[in-house]
Point group: C2
């Protein structure tokens, strides 16, 4: 048991393997289907988009997968990330609950995204790829992939959702500073982009649209592969360094969480922290552990979506995956948590939700920013709007403990990134300009209609 505020590990304690939850699933994942034949796909179907090593990881059921030395070496720049006891927040809330957060914002990219960006850049480089093509919502993934590409000597093209491109010029410049090229999506660089621009010239864009563009770019060029910042199994796998470190750190703190919290857009930062703990729940080590995925009410995939086969992108270029979805044609409103504006959800997170191994909750924007500023004034760090959703949930759990007189509650959440590039969102909140928009029943009906018939 330590009295330190920040629980730090040495670089030797950076995990040597990623944890693959597919090895421990009580029911295996439903197969991914080919968009044309609607039959289960094989590795060859993905070769145009991904290097073979990542395709293998995507379907692997090995419990532990080695982290390459070259990746661990760069992890050392900021990992292990700190686990921080939020004593000042506890005091501000007057809660008897203990609140811990894993801080991924200390990475050079400012978020957890670099954990997988480095791995993906490494495997691509090793298999002779020259350029990576990707999309970015809030800009955190684009920043991470541009840094990783620069470190491994790859070119990088980023299709940035238009609303973020306009709201977050600094993210764009950061991506360019590491040598990547950035286009506002939908762009005129791809057939998918041109088609959508023709139909909806004033669209604010969406992750689904940007994915269509990035996938098309990679599919069209032999030495270009596609990199995705969330959703896929291998991406979630790489993020498990977060939870594996957190488990060691909670042990040093002499605690174990009652509830583990993360925000979800595609699902990767939640999965990264939660999956190693889900393993404890499945194995019986922590039967009563709660794992909570937090999403915006404007894009409530897990809490309101259908569990069905759908495309990962808007145009319908990707394989069909079984997931919670609001329909691949849904364009979420331009809320400030751009990283959570995705119509679908990682199949692994969806599957665990269907199996009731995890739960989900959704929040409107304004109460999320209110919690974020309370956190900032207590702990000093201004959260990214995405991570602020996890903060809000942690605050609510701590208040619930206070109200219930529960003196033994331990809360752990993932502060997946800082908000240094999101100050325009805070400005909008402080000046009362943020709109609280919830997903409507009408939207749900049209979402269900858009689902492909399987």
């Amino acid at each position: 048991m330590t009295e330190e505020t920040k629980i730090l590990l040495s670089e030797k304690q950076i995990p040597e393997k990623w944890y693959n939850i597919q090895a421990d699933l009580p029911v295996p994942l439903p197969p991914v289907l080919h968009p044309g034949t609607r039959k289960p796909i094989g590795p060859a179907d993905l070769e145009a988009l991904f290097p073979m090593e990542l395709i293998k990881q995507e379907v692997s059921t090995e419990k532990w997968i080695d982290i390459p030395d070259e990746v661990r070496e760069i992890y050392r720049l900021w990992r292990p990330s700190p686990l921080i006891r939020a004593r000042r927040l506890e005091k501000a809330l007057g809660t008897p609950a203990k609140i811990y957060y894993k801080y991924e914002g200390a990475s050079p990219a400012g978020s957890h995204k670099l954990n997988t960006a480095l791995a993906q850049a490494y495997y691509n480089k090793k298999e002779g790829v020259k350029r990576l093509s990707t999309e970015t919502g809030a800009g955190q993934w684009g920043s991470a992939l541009s840094i990783a590409s620069s470190f491994f000597g790859l070119k990088c093209t980023v299709y940035m959702v238009k609303v973020s491109y306009d709201q977050k010029p600094y993210r764009k410049i950061m991506i360019q500073s590491f040598g990547a090229e950035v286009f506002a999506s939908p762009s005129d660089k791809t057939a998918a982009g041109r088609k959508i621009l023709a139909e909806m010239p004033d669209t604010s864009g969406s992750l689904g649209i940007a994915i269509s563009e990035a996938v098309e770019d990679a599919a069209k060029h032999d030495d270009v592969k596609y990199a995705l910042g969330s959703v896929l199994n291998h991406v979630l796998l790489h993020q498990t360094v977060i939870g594996l470190e957190a488990q060691k750190q909670m042990e040093i703190a002499g605690d174990y969480p009652d509830v583990v919290i993360g925000c979800v857009g595609g699902g990767s930062n939640f999965a990264g922290l939660a999956f190693p703990f889900v393993a404890d729940k499945i194995s019986g080590k922590a039967k009563n552990l709660r794992l909570v995925a937090v999403e915006p009410s404007a894009c409530p995939t897990l809490t309101k979506g259908a569990y069905a086969y759908d495309f990962g992108d808007t145009v319908g270029l990707t394989p069909l995956i079984k997931m919670f979805t609001l329909g691949h044609t849904f364009v979420p409103p331009g809320i400030h948590a751009g990283g959570l504006r995705y119509h679908g959800m990682a199949p692994l997170v969806s599957h665990l939700h269907k199996l009731k191994l995890i739960e989900a909750v959704s929040y409107l924007q304004n109460p999320v920013f209110e919690a974020a500023l309370l956190f900032a004034k207590s702990e000093g760090i201004i959260p990214a709007p995405e991570a602020a959703h996890a903060v809000k949930c942690a605050v609510d759990e701590a208040i619930a403990a206070k109200e219930a007189g529960d003196k033994n509650k331990t809360i752990l959440f993932n502060l997946s990134g800082h908000g240094h590039f999101d100050m325009a969102a805070y400005d909008a909140y402080l000046s009362g300009k943020l709109k609280d928009v919830a997903f409507s029943d009408d939207e749900m009906r049209s979402a269900l209609k858009s689902l492909p018939q399987i």
Copy 2:
């Protein structure tokens, strides 16, 4: 000797005392003079502006001054800050030199400024002050003081140099997020601001002007005191936690620096890292140690200024201090390292330079940003433009070692802040829009004319 990239200390190793270099000076500091009588001032002359405890620290010759528990407790949020071996930068340069940097950008404020902001807010709170008034150049000090004020329950007013207010809206919003009010300086809120606006309606402002406004605000109100982010002895004192930690960390690394580098505007981050090492030089423990202060060629106070009595502000409200100065009426060009746009220099740094215990060098903007991007692409962190001056000097020292075939050189520099709020500067650099302006002989002649006659 450790092989870790990041050399970390535990929270117990946060220094318990600040190091006061006034105790070790071979020649004492020249006295500070009253702006009216031109006689040495006493504590009573400063009471309108500062709490008594800080006035005592300003003139103390005690070698060690206790850090209050309340301040150390908040330091724990991010201190001890990491000392990082820049192995990837060394490799990129092909240098045999070892490069270490102390990273102060991991603080909630994004720079070293919070080290003194917390101490100042604490002493003011303890003495019953209700509001703090201050200036900010690049916005780093304003952010730090707004966070510290929020933590200690004080109101806070920030006069932000107009060019930074316009160039860095995100810094302004960050300051507001912590509850402080921000005005572009010169403002119409003070007599000093109105006078300058009448004379130079299009001025981009300067630290000197903003100081005049903040000082006037504090002097006019009984329960308001003034807080300065650099220059003064007590401010530099509070920053010595940086160097004291770095000494312990270098010991863990099994190394001792041959050269210690920091950028200088007012002088505080340089002093914070360097002063504990200057003590080693004075005591004879490290006779050949070099300490290098790095400034912009557009505002080259130490390398081109006069060593003379001058005002700390533009209007002439402050006491007269003996320092290197470009003249209190000098308004530096709107270069992007806003924190380095100050006509004067800390009297302690000036004194050490006069005594030849430290040296100074100046650089133009473009080569500084070039070095900053090389650093970012190697180490991942985008430096603040101010800190980038220290990066440039460290890179030059490493290249010099390579060219001289010197295999035993150890370089230590202060990376005083990150550049997340300075991306507009990187945009200007990347698009070739940054102008390289050096201080001219004409400017020097008019600077000398503006000096008060003592």
